[in-house]
């Protein structure tokens, strides 16, 4: 097997991982680095549960080959907050009742974070939020409370001075 070393930074920590060329970033994160908060479903960039931030931008980790992210910096849900220090989005997702089964939520939060970080300090409209998160499917919530959560987090982040 033609294995190769992948150099990758995940949540600020650098990793060297022995990969097979066909592995996706999703496989590397889940199987090699143990970032299980990055979820797996359709594997065709249709559902968004595998969303991570690649150099700060939301991407579907299921369709990126590991080799394509050599030297890149990845942020997963584990990298934006922890139970003692929740990111504002994590906080508002809980407060607004935006979480049901929760399987889409890591991807949804990262999709939203990428969007909010693009325009620090902005207060996007509900329609703008809808458009920004449309690439991540949620089957439980009907999205309303997710939009509440993103709008509330944006408001708080705007007050506290932009990106977190």
């Amino acid at each position: 097997m033609n294995r190769k070393i992948l150099n990758i930074v995940v949540n600020g920590e650098s990793h060297q991982v022995l990969i097979e060329p066909h592995w996706t970033l999703l496989q590397v994160l889940r199987n090699e680095i143990g970032m299980m908060g990055t979820k797996e479903n359709c594997l065709e960039a249709e559902c968004g549960v595998c969303t991570v931030l690649l150099d700060g931008k939301a991407v579907n980790s299921c369709i990126l080959l590991a080799g394509q992210v050599e030297g890149c910096s990845i942020t997963t849900i584990e990298g934006i907050g922890d139970p003692e220090h929740l990111h504002p989005l994590q906080q508002t997702f809980i407060e607004c009742g935006a979480v049901q089964c929760g399987y889409c939520i890591p991807g949804m939060i990262l999709t939203a974070k990428s969007f909010l970080d693009e325009n620090p300090g902005s207060r996007p409209s509900r329609d703008e939020i809808r458009e920004a998160i449309a690439g991540t499917l949620c089957r439980c919530t009907g999205y309303s409370k997710i939009i509440d959560a993103v709008a509330t987090a944006a408001e708080r982040m705007a007050i506290s001075g932009g990106s977190q």
Binding site: M1, P21, V59
Partner: protein
């Protein structure tokens, strides 16, 4: 599914590599399409040559008479580019409905072009703007109008050892506008049932069409220009009647299929409706008062 992954440092290296590994190598840019094709076992390359990091192939440059889009430019870059908010708005309109944000951050415009999907959303806009592709291969560079580049469903005139490096768009004359409209079952994450890009330039008086370019996706084996409709409109009064007539002509020109997304009959009807709507949007955008 087993391949070697190569990361050349320059376009020349990439082309050399492709030549050496021909015919078992494929280029990969964003990968949003090719990775799915590999996983679905539709293709089985032995070598993937990653061109995504090649220098100079990304970004948008502007001169007095044209825009040059690097082939690796991502949709999200186009969507947020201020220069496209005016008469080239169709570029933004198409870029913003391709997959979700996550795909828009991965997929490249060059990739969308070389895939030559009949339902590609960005291709009709480029076609309506008479885009020209710059291509580099073992024998140097060449330029090809997009119109001649796509030859069939999934088929282009690109050689397996060639790379599309940039896409050039001439700036539009005054009194011009573009529009992109798309229909699908949902409002996002859709492969178009039909999509239409229109580019309209009005005569100096502002009431007649000087030139019209209409490109239609998902209604024929390849994205096509509705030439009869275009020809009809030239010199016509720019009004609802002529736009509706152009829609009818375009519907006669298309050759849609029936599939799980829609019937051929519905697609044909959509072409007629959407051509009219795209032209109307262009007309409104030219800023002229409707008579």
């Amino acid at each position: 599914m087993s391949f070697d992954f190569h990361r050349p440092a320059t376009v020349t290296e990439a082309v050399d590599l492709a030549q050496r590994l021909f015919p078992t190598a494929r280029f990969i840019a964003g990968g949003s399409d090719i990775v799915i094709q590999i996983n679905r076992k539709k293709i089985d390359p032995s070598h993937l040559i990653d061109v995504a990091c090649l220098p100079g192939l990304s970004g948008i440059a502007e001169t007095s008479d044209e825009f040059t889009l690097g082939a690796l430019t991502k949709y999200h870059t186009i969507e947020t580019h201020p220069a496209f908010a005016g008469s080239l708005r169709a570029l933004i309109e198409a870029a913003s409905v391709i997959g979700g944000r996550q795909v828009q951050n991965i997929a490249t415009i060059g990739g969308n072009i070389v895939n030559a999907s009949p339902a590609a959303d960005f291709v009709p806009v480029l076609l309506a703007l008479d885009a020209v592709l710059d291509i580099t291969g073992p024998n140097g560079s060449r330029s090809v109008p997009l119109q001649d580049f796509i030859v069939g469903p999934g088929k282009t005139s690109l050689l397996p050892v060639e790379i599309v490096t940039s896409i050039r768009l001439a700036k539009l004359p005054a009194r011009s506008a573009t529009a992109f409209v798309k229909e699908g079952r949902r409002r996002a994450m859709e492969i178009s049932v039909v999509c239409v890009a229109a580019c309209l330039t009005l005569e100096a008086g502002g009431s007649r069409c000087a030139s019209v370019r209409l490109a239609i996706g998902a209604a024929a084996p390849k994205v096509f220009r509705a030439k009869a409709a275009e020809a009809y409109l030239e010199g016509q009064l720019a009004d609802q009647t002529s736009f509706a007539e152009a829609g009818k002509l375009a519907a006669e020109e298309c050759a849609p299929i029936s599939d799980v997304r829609a019937s051929a009959d519905y697609r044909r009807r959509l072409v007629s409706i959407m051509v009219e709507r795209a032209l109307t949007a262009c007309f409104e955008r030219t800023g002229e008062e409707r008579r």
